[in-house]
């Protein structure tokens, strides 16, 4: 047995020691003597969350298919171990070999949400790697950032050697080949970064500089290195049915958040909701072949022994062969006790049939995400879900025995008025009325409606990237207003209202559309003890506010300010396919309440056609219901 990095004394003192000992089923083992490149993949949150992430599993499998590369993993040490590692000066290690990360060639960090930024600094700090990229030496690993947050990497640009923008399946081979080439010819770290700057999709932040105007907006963004590109084009895997996907996903011993096989049936979304970043940055929509999915479903269930398979996509109902796939899985696996879960499924006759077959009706709930309370505002955000379709879906479900409904809304959307907010209360009540309209004998006790509101955060590469975010005061006032309106409803006792706290969303808003000046704030907040910011029990709002104040940074500049069309946005150097013209057009149509048809109905000329694949090359005008 390979010696563990942590002693028995430490492991028996901390919570869930199995987080740190590796050796999971399907873990890849390699002979270090035959390896040229050591890559450590990091999800900067606790093990149970990181192990649930599909992207890491795809990349882990992909890297380890290379004979010259050993890809290992690391997750954020929980606060109990964090303290011990600091006290005893133990360097953070990778799970597979238990070797210190500072001895690796690469540290690749996936950036899934803004609130993990301090955790990145923890990983670097505990690994004894200089936190600032400019302080790293020839002996330090190359630190890479990837994932959705790299569509605006500027707030964390100081901490990374380069960012990989887009889908990981495409140019990593070039990244690793260039590394070997550079090493063989005795090239320096800088030589290597220059080689990378020439590869499509890679952004080396140190090769660019930013100048600001007096009003704090960007005056100029320019290159300081001749090898750097003007624009970085996001990477897209053109054929999702002939690419990397893990047949033997890692299986943790302790229960992960996602304790099931995750099968990504398609990438992207045809819907074009104007607030949704994923719907824009993953364009164009690409489906995986039915045969590919059937094959992988069988192999992954066999290799893991999971009792559940989840079909993952932004909008499952839009996958063209969904019925065939789902009925195939039910037929093949439900007798073997395998549950099938379908998040993001539109409630219709098919959905109810599937749900009644795979779930316990008494225990499961229906989920609707109208996002806005009135038809007018749903048109503004281009959410093609009507009140009628919600009520019809609910009625059918109630008739089939369901009695629980979850509703998701946002507060603070552009053009929002009191009527729109009140509409949330009214719609919740109408659903309850539907329930009590069915004969008492067919009802299953009382109806339970859980209405949740989140705080709208404008994101880069969405039509609302120019929009103003509400101030916390405005948001809290709206919450209070809505609570009052819910209490005015006939069925108020059936409606439970949940809302998000304002503080975390405000920070998310700052970092989502922030610039390089925020790097210092993040570093200062980290030094002041901020860590695991997405965990409410560890979130230190005052420490964050102090870090902003100490650096002379006004939060409202980033959040509650509407941008104009000419402003240089920090992420303008990224070419995500969707053009700025398209987004601006959509912003204005949105303000006017005009809807845009989805990609299957008509092409909106968003720009994603440049990627030469997916829905852009499928005949339009198919019948698609919303």
């Amino acid at each position: 047995m390979k010696k563990l990095a942590l002693s028995d004394e430490i492991l028996l003192t901390i919570e869930k020691p199995a987080r740190y000992v590796g050796n999971e089923i399907n873990m890849v083992k390699k002979d270090l003597d035959k390896i040229e490149i050591r890559f450590c993949m990091c999800f900067p949150d606790v093990y149970e969350i990181g192990m649930s992430h599909l992207g890491i599993q795809i990349l882990y499998d992909m890297f380890n298919r290379r004979e010259d590369t050993y890809c290992e993993r690391v997750y954020s040490p929980w606060v109990d171990l964090d303290k011990i590692l600091r006290e005893k000066n133990i360097p953070l290690f990778a799970l597979e070999s238990q070797d210190p990360i500072k001895d690796f060639d690469f540290l690749g960090v996936t950036l899934q949400y803004e609130m993990c930024y301090t955790n990145i600094l923890q990983i670097l700090d505990l690994s004894h790697i200089p936190v600032l990229a400019r302080n790293r030496t020839e002996n330090d690993p190359i630190v890479i950032g990837g994932g959705p947050c790299v569509y605006n990497p500027e707030p964390i640009a100081d901490f990374f050697d380069f960012f990989y923008i887009g889908e990981g399946e495409t140019v990593y081979d070039q990244v690793l080949d260039a590394y070997k080439e550079n090493k063989n010819k005795g090239g320096s770290r800088r030589d290597y970064l220059e080689m990378l700057a020439r590869i499509e999709g890679l952004y080396v932040p140190s090769f660019y500089e930013v100048e600001y105007k007096e009003d704090n907006t960007i005056k100029a963004f320019y290159k300081n290195n001749g090898q750097a590109k003007d624009k970085i084009r996001k990477q897209v895997e053109m054929n999702l049915s002939d690419t990397f996907y893990p047949k033997k996903p890692l299986l943790p011993y302790i229960k992960a958040i996602q304790d099931r096989v995750v099968l990504e049936i398609q990438r992207g979304c045809i819907r074009g909701c104007r607030f949704c970043q994923a719907g824009m940055i993953y364009r164009p929509v690409r489906e995986r072949d039915l045969a590919f999915l059937k094959d992988y479903a069988c192999q992954m269930l066999k290799a893991t022994g999971h009792e559940e398979i989840s079909l993952s996509s932004l909008s499952s109902s839009d996958y063209s062969a969904l019925q065939e796939l789902v009925y195939y899985l039910i037929e093949k696996f439900s007798s073997k006790g395998v549950n099938i879960s379908l998040p993001s499924l539109r409630i219709d006759a098919f959905a109810l049939d599937v749900m009644s077959k795979v779930q316990d009706v008494r225990k499961s709930s229906l989920t609707f995400a109208p996002e806005a309370g009135s038809q007018r505002l749903r048109d503004v955000i281009n959410k093609g879900l009507t009140q009628e379709s919600i009520l019809t879906g609910a009625r059918d479900a109630f008739n089939s025995g369901w009695n629980r409904v979850k509703l998701y809304f946002m507060l603070g959307l552009p053009t929002e008025m009191e009527e729109d907010i009140e509409g949330i209360a009214v719609l919740s009540d109408k659903i309850a009325r539907e329930y009590y309209a069915i004969p008492k004998i067919k009802r299953n006790g009382k109806v339970s409606i859980v209405t949740s509101t989140s705080y709208f955060v404008p994101k880069p590469f969405t039509p609302f990237q120019w929009a103003r975010m509400d101030t916390p005061e405005e948001y809290i006032e709206k919450q209070r207003f809505l609570r009052g309106k819910i209490n005015d409803q006939l069925n108020r006792k059936s409606i439970k209202y949940n809302w998000h706290e304002a503080e975390v969303s405000i920070l998310e808003g700052v970092f989502a559309r922030g610039d390089r000046r925020l790097g210092k704030v993040i570093y200062d907040a980290y030094k002041a003890g901020c860590l695991f910011d997405s965990w409410s029990e560890y979130f230190k709002y005052e420490a964050w506010m102090k870090a902003f104040k100490d650096n002379g940074i006004d939060i409202a500049f980033y959040t509650s300010r509407e941008r104009d069309e000419e402003e240089i946005l920090p992420w303008d150097f990224i070419d995500a396919g969707v053009t700025k013209e398209f987004l601006w057009r959509e912003y204005n149509k949105g303000i006017q309440g005009k809807v845009t048809p989805n990609c299957k109905m008509a092409c909106a000329d968003c720009g994603a056609k440049v990627f030469n694949c997916g829905i852009c090359y499928v005949k339009k005008g198919q019948e698609v219901t919303s």
């Binding site: 299986l251 302790i254 022994g305």
Partner: protein, 264 residues
């Protein structure tokens, strides 16, 4: 039909707790495509139960679980088939079909053998001194410990719950009349350079249960040494059922205690 499976647990997986080991086996059986019997209802689960939970930090050569299966092949086929999908640190070493009227393993546990080793760096006394003092400790007429519960403290005499001690595995098994198996060399127990260790047989199960850690704590108090809780690696060797007549104990390893009918 009821199947009793014997397995070992070692290495880094000593840090995986009992509930996670249960989940591990459920998934392992699915990977091995065993024809396991499921409970009825909307969330069916495998009909499986474990003899005695093993604490986090302990290793074992002799863990048991019972599982209901609809069909199965001979042990020579089943054991390799399960091990093919298992971690190298949890291995199946026994597979036995039980008579239908057998009681489940958990209900018949009566004793367990442990190897307690002093970890290197914690060797607080010489091997020979340890053995002498431990023998003296064991030969006391009464061994009183204080058991703390949430509400109260109770003095308990554990002497009768310590069935046997030895410092040599072969002698230990000989004295106990347990068949000497080849398993000594196959043991997954970690070894330590200081070689200070003791084999002990203790009462286990629902009636009387004594943890080896409590014995070591009592020994340290007797020997005037400070009890360091990280100083010992506890390794379970075997779990037994009592097939005696109620007066004289007759401990039989669970894998051989299949049809459990008391003979008076």
């Amino acid at each position: 039909m009821k199947i009793r499976i014997k397995f070992t647990k070692s290495g880094p997986l000593k840090f995986v707790g009992h509930l996670d080991v249960m989940r591990y086996f459920q998934k392992a059986f699915r990977r091995a495509e065993l024809d396991v019997e499921y409970s009825q209802g909307f969330s069916p689960h495998q009909l499986m139960s474990f003899a005695a939970p093993l604490g986090v930090g302990l290793t074992s050569d002799g863990e048991y679980l019972d599982v209901s299966m609809n069909t199965c092949d001979a042990p020579e086929i089943m054991i390799p088939r399960i091990n093919a999908v298992m971690s190298e640190y949890i291995r199946v070493v026994g597979f036995k079909v039980l008579p239908d009227n057998s009681k489940n393993a958990m209900s018949i546990v009566a004793g367990a053998d442990y190897l307690v080793s002093v970890k290197d760096g914690y060797d607080f006394m010489d091997k020979s001194v340890f053995e002498q003092k431990f023998t003296d400790f064991y030969n006391q007429e009464n061994i009183i410990i204080t058991k703390k519960t949430k509400k109260s403290e109770n003095d308990v005499n554990i002497k009768s719950m310590i069935y046997h001690i030895s410092f040599d595995r072969e002698k230990f098994q000989e004295n106990m009349g347990t068949p000497l198996t080849a398993r000594i060399k196959d043991s997954v127990a970690d070894t330590y350079a200081n070689e200070t260790k003791v084999y002990i047989r203790l009462a286990a199960g629902s009636v009387n249960n004594l943890k080896p850690e409590l014995v070591m704590e009592a020994f340290c108090r007797y020997a005037g040494a400070e009890f360091e809780k990280f100083a010992y690696q506890v390794h379970r060797l075997e779990i037994y059922a009592d097939l005696g007549d109620g007066i004289n104990r007759k401990l039989i390893p669970l894998e051989h205690a299949d049809s459990f009918a008391k003979v008076y």
